[in-house]
Amino acid sequence: MASIGQILLAGLSLGSVYALTALGFVLIYRATNVVNFAQGEFLMLGAYFLFTFVEGAKLNYGVAALIAIGMLGVLGLLFALGVYYPLRNRSFLPVIIATIGASIMFQNGALAIWGSSPERLRPVLEGGGSGGVTLGGVYFNYQYVIILAVTLVLMGFQYAFFEFTLLGKKTQAISQDKDMARLLGIPVTGMIALTFIYSTILGGLAGMLVAPIFFLQHNMGSIPGLKAFSASIIGGFGDVRGAIVGGLTLGVLESFGGAYISTVYKDAFAFLLLIIFLLVRPQGLFGEKVGEKA
């Protein structure tokens, strides 16, 4: 039995992955009111892109990651143009379905390109899959540490971006009122495209971070994607803090649940928690209650 510290560490790094993916959901939702069910597929694609350049092209890890991020950005732009833009004035239902359709397309595209047998990516730091250091009785796997560090840096970057840059303020303005933002001369379409690009990269980064821990498979993104969406609802949908706190909470709970309750039903915890939250406190931890006016 692993120590509590060990479980906590694993939970936090898993939670970081959920948080990054959840942030992608939330940022897109805030800018466009669209729930992007293909967000989990960006995770899978990020992992495969990195795998291709590291293991296939034998590139340096950093270079490979940069190229992968660039490709994710292009993908995000194409996604915005191909799936979001044509449906931007339709109700939520066709948009949800279109993103589900896109997710089917991505999964099967990956299946066609990388095949169905699971692939393995070597960790960033050498020392096999078990490279790490023991501190105070807790074994710190390097990859977990990297996940936590990258997530922290990204969160800091994002906070600074939204709070201190004009571009960040513009993005926030769009999520408040698109028409008003347009009247004020903010290029709404361009900003939305930018949001898609950034969210795709976030999702892809989450995938690149877990790639050395998980097996790479075409469907590796769908369950983490759905869980990240659950996490963002638990945190309070549409709220950036909610996505981060919800993601971390879910990761830790899942880690402890898996260790102490049941490993096979580990995946069910997120959804049970989600259903309980939706019924008891649908606005989540940070969200505000909204009602339709007659």
């Binding site: 449906l87 379905i97 066609a112 259903i275």
Partner: protein, 577 residues
């Protein structure tokens, strides 16, 4: 009037019966017959989604779990517990109804993507349990040697079973088609289009949504049962999230509101992999792109596209001519109190939108509620009609205390309303809009249709009956709202700013309509800004400002009161200071 020509629905029955009879003969070979069986079973489950998604507008990504419940009921029931096939079948339907009611009940609080997520959670938990609880479900290996049902003759050959499965599909398709224009089906579509308006017209929206989920679950389970005995073997991975997405895709590709579309979609997505088999892996990419393309370019699916091309298929049934004058509510002695408001309050957090208002609406009068913008008039109407619960105070309608009750309950007591910002069922025709309104007063379908027809004639909408509400000009849409409210034969009609946005001549028509309704004895509560309209129409005025009543009485007296003038024009003393 009877005609010798066959209606489209008769052609559909004939064509369907022919397909049921011929397909198992034409499609031969064990493998192909199995694909045919699969198409039938999937179509039945997809028709469940037609009800919940197409009619009621509620998203469900759990249909594969209901399909699984039906399949496991047969597998476990017959193989593990030795039950009779039909008993196991019924048990599966019962279990599915229970699950459907649970999912439907969550719509009380949730809609949109939250509902989507709850159904996904339900689906994933179902899959996990069926895969991991081996002692109960047989685990990932599933259940083998499932028997087929006895049905007059033994269904021991794949061909015979295919006849059985396809006949069941046809029956379900006809039933779901008949549901569409029934009272329940209309209520479902009204809920889809505008839940608040449906509720205010007396449709118990929660009950309608729960019923839609229950019907959908039953059809999912029925399809699953037929599937289990068709393939004689089931395993949990057939009933996973991916399959739920596939059901959704079938309905959307086919056309979510039409039965023919769902059957077409199910057939297409079952056979497509067989036809495209040379494409192998690419097939699934093509499949994903087809979904995206259909959604983007054919919002009503393939069948919607077909009906656009041949409009005769979509020709609506004729509307009966009205047989009598517009029916009115019960005759009561004039002046008897209809609606009594006592010390009514509605606070939103710290905002006191309505703060202790009292007034009485009496039988036969046109009572106007006026006040400057933001004075709380519309909030009062919303509290009276039950859309908001009052923070305090009493509302007595026809002798019954109705404060805090659901809007549909209050509407069923005899109160209907129109909305300041139109709340029509936009995708429904004028006829269907008014029919939903007419359902409030009860009676059989003939009575409902007659009431609707006379309300349409009264409001001068006869030439628009088959137009979709959203395609009408604004003034006409406002008239449809009044017709919809009138068709329910209210005892009290609430008109929330009926003149807002109307042209001068439309306003004159409105005055005439209200005067005619008054002459027929209808009691009305009118919220309005247009002072000339108010002074022409009303017998009694209540003036509201800052959530409180500032004046009340006969129009000429009230409009002359200085406090009223100040409320509208500003306080002269304050302005001078």
């Amino acid at each position: 009037m009877r005609t010798a020509t066959l209606k489209p629905v008769h052609w559909a029955i004939l064509g369907g019966a022919l397909a049921v009879a011929l397909l198992p003969l034409l499609v031969t070979g064990r493998y192909n017959t199995n694909v045919l069986l699969l198409a039938g079973a999937w179509a039945i489950a997809a028709l469940g989604l037609t009800v919940v998604l197409g009619y009621a507008g509620q998203i469900s990504l759990a249909q594969a779990s209901f399909f699984g419940i039906g399949a496991y009921a047969i597998g476990l029931g017959t193989v593990h517990y030795g039950l009779n096939w039909w008993l196991a079948f019924v048990l599966g339907l019962v279990a599915a109804v229970a699950g459907g009611i649970i999912l439907g009940a969550t719509t009380l609080k949730l809609g949109g993507h939250y509902l989507a997520m709850v159904t996904i959670g339900f689906q994933i938990i179902f899959s996990l349990v069926m895969t991991n609880w081996s002692a109960f479900s047989g685990g990932p290996d599933g259940i083998t040697r499932i028997p087929r049902p006895p049905f007059f003759v033994p269904l021991n050959s794949a061909q015979r079973y295919a006849w059985f499965a396809l006949a069941a599909t046809l029956l379900v398709a006809l039933a779901v088609h008949a549901l569409r224009d029934s009272r329940l089906g209309r209520s479902m579509r009204a809920v889809r289009e505008n839940e608040i308006a449906a509720e205010a017209l007396g449709v118990d929206t929660l009950r309608v949504k729960v019923t839609a989920f229950a019907i959908s679950a039953v059809l999912g389970a029925a399809g699953g049962s037929i599937y289990a005995s068709g393939f004689l073997y089931i395993a949990p991975d057939t009933f996973d999230f991916g399959t739920s997405v596939q059901f959704l895709a079938m309905v959307l590709v086919g056309g979510r509101e039409s039965v023919a579309g769902s059957v077409l979609g199910a057939g297409l997505l079952t056979f497509l992999p067989e036809w495209l088999r040379e494409l192998k892996k690419i097939y699934l990419i093509v499949y994903g792109s087809i979904i995206v393309l259909v959604i983007v370019f054919m919002p009503e699916g393939l069948w919607g596209f077909v009906t656009l091309l041949s409009r005769s298929l979509a020709r609506p049934s004729p509307v009966p001519p009205p047989r009598g004058a517009l029916p009115m509510g019960r005759a009561r002695p004039a002046g008897e109190p209809v609606l009594v408001i006592e010390n009514l309050g509605k606070h939103f957090g710290g905002l006191k939108a309505v703060d202790g208002v009292s007034f009485t609406v009496r039988q036969g009068e046109v009572h106007a509620l006026i006040g400057p913008n933001g004075s709380g008039k519309t909030t009062i109407i919303n509290v009276i009609s039950g859309l908001y619960a009052p923070s305090f105070g009493e509302i007595t309608f026809l002798g019954r205390s109705v404060g805090g009750q659901r809007a549909s309950r209050i509407a069923r007591c005899g109160m209907t309303r129109t909305f300041q910002n139109l709340r029509l069922f936009r995708e429904l025709t004028v006829w269907e809009n008014v029919l939903v309104g007419a359902q409030r007063a009860g009676g059989d379908e003939t009575a409902i249709r007659e009431r609707a027809a006379s309300a349409i004639e009264f409001m001068g909408l006869t030439s628009h009956v088959h137009n979709r509400a959203k395609n009408l000009p604004y003034g006409t849409q406002k008239r449809v709202e009044i017709a919809r409210a009138l068709a329910g034969v209210p005892e009290l009609l609430l008109l929330d700013e009926p003149a807002a946005g109307l042209t001068q001549s439309e306003k004159e028509d409105l005055v005439e309509i209200v005067q005619q309704l008054h002459a027929r004895g209808l009691t009305m509560l009118l919220v309005e800004h247009d002072m000339s309209l108010v002074s022409q129409l009303s017998h009694h005025i209540t003036v509201i400002n800052f959530g409180r009543k500032i004046a009340e009485g006969a129009p000429e007296r009230v409009l002359a009161e200085p406090a009223v003038g100040e409320a509208y024009l500003g306080n002269r003393e304050a302005a001078r200071a």
